[in-house]
Symmetry: C2
Subunit: 348 residues, 2 copies
Amino acid sequence: LQKSDTRSPQRAVGCRCGIDVHSHVVPSRFPGRDDPPDAWPSVHSVDACHGQVMIGSRPYRLVSDACWLASRRLEAMDAAGIGLQVLSPMPELFSYWMETAAADDLIRYTNDVLAALVQEGAGRFRALAGVPLQDLDRAIAELTRVMALPGFAGVEIGSNINGIPVGHSHLFPFFAEAERLGAAVFVHAVRPAGSERLVGPAPLQQVLGYPTDIGLAAASAITNNLLSRFPSLRLAFSHGGGTFAALLPRLEQGYATFPALRDSLGESPSQQARRLFVDSLVFDRDMLRQLVQIFGEDHVMIGTDYPFNFREEAPMRRIEEAFEEARLRDRLTRLNAAAFLGLNEICP
Amino acid sequence: LQKSDTRSPQRAVGCRCGIDVHSHVVPSRFPGRDDPPDAWPSVHSVDACHGQVMIGSRPYRLVSDACWLASRRLEAMDAAGIGLQVLSPMPELFSYWMETAAADDLIRYTNDVLAALVQEGAGRFRALAGVPLQDLDRAIAELTRVMALPGFAGVEIGSNINGIPVGHSHLFPFFAEAERLGAAVFVHAVRPAGSERLVGPAPLQQVLGYPTDIGLAAASAITNNLLSRFPSLRLAFSHGGGTFAALLPRLEQGYATFPALRDSLGESPSQQARRLFVDSLVFDRDMLRQLVQIFGEDHVMIGTDYPFNFREEAPMRRIEEAFEEARLRDRLTRLNAAAFLGLNEICP
């Protein structure tokens, strides 16, 4: 890896080696279904390059064909200096709120679309599968199935499962299996808490609700000692862990103050935070530096939300603007992601 | 004001002139009531110096007599270098969830206890009243009453009023009146959103729920342009604005991305944030510096949560450890609070 050239930060990293752990896929079509559940998705073509995603009869999001076309994604990756992109379902496709058998069919279908994209990508894609976590047995079965397929590094799961926070003991059997299988677990905000406190247009759910819910999810992992229970689990949180960075000092002080918290937490919150991975999707230099301070130089990695509108356009430059040191940049742009994903070879 | 002596930061500020805008009062007793509502409070003596606060039949919090004794408070203020302490009701006494007539009686009683403490304090206390915001007319009537009493600088209100966020248009008539009367408005977390996402012992509601709710409250003030609508309103948020610091960069990016947000917000979120006051109650040097960056050198002021267990013990030292410059320290420890409170004379 060469020392970066600050005049042209996008191209500065020697090879096109950035790894983006946070990008989404929407299949270009979904199978029809007799008597589909309310939230069954479909995609209606809008023009040559865009589709309207419907959740049942509700227009959900207008998306570009980069959601399903490998070629579009590879072009964008080349332009942004991203060598490897990790594909995961658009979170609304988690379908935790859907009747289990239908959700299971939908999620398996989406995972098979991810598998096909991985094949098309000629080594430049990996995948994180969806799993129907409203049914732990089925979720574990699907996790086992995808981990035997080429290119799957683990799973993407919601920050809450129908309101159950990620750190809740109910989910321990799933985490035990993920740990056993060596599956990376990427936690993504979905159907967030606090939505009833938002005043303004609909995008505020993504803008403010998502970081709120992922922050509480990361906190729940810590207050229930998830990483002490599953020490080999590789667990990451989207959107830089959201509000967790702002919650941590108060959680640390609470741990020092309340006997009930001191007794229930083994390690201090700050120590535990250093076992969690987060992505870099915070749109801010100072906050990115704060993430590295909190989670450690070896636990922050690129996330972009590609190809949605509300995304990080220049993930490599964002890191290079915040950090001078070549070795640290290398960690943040690819080595940490490789460790999270369990990759042996880094450069595709 | 002398340059501080770093060997003895607590005593370094020339006079005992720190102003603490965030401290709470619990009356030593509450009036009895025929057929009291479910949440009617009482205090049961536990020992010579402590009482058990009950909310109805539910033990709510064990508190020290510093909650109601001026002499205890003045001693603690002297020890911490605090010249002026702003008294406000323990938030559970807001009683927004109580039948209005009973809540109104309770809040007037509590405000009268605050008024009596102000008298006892010989100039070293100011008060922020409670108001029954479940009924805007009664709230405005009580605001008008207390603003005519000696020592009242304004009101303390909840981050949400039975779920209605502070920025909601429903509350505009109240803010219009607060602005007209020159009443400072201190927004304190209460009955927080996200409580259903907490995994662990009860104090997590205070530890994680409070900053989550106050963060969303501050965001709602911005997304509904509260300070553009009421430009002379002096509005502050407890706990350093909670998670707002972590939400702001994403809100700023959302404002740049979504036309719906750009259209509904006049000024950018970052610009609007510089009109809000916050207290310093974040227990962390770096986060305190971040607050000054976000809200401005003239909008951060001391808050301690005195006399509860979970509080800032050394507010002056916290600021002196984070900031070198004498003029800035002076602002953060007292001048900003004086501006927020509308005080003419600063040193008691």
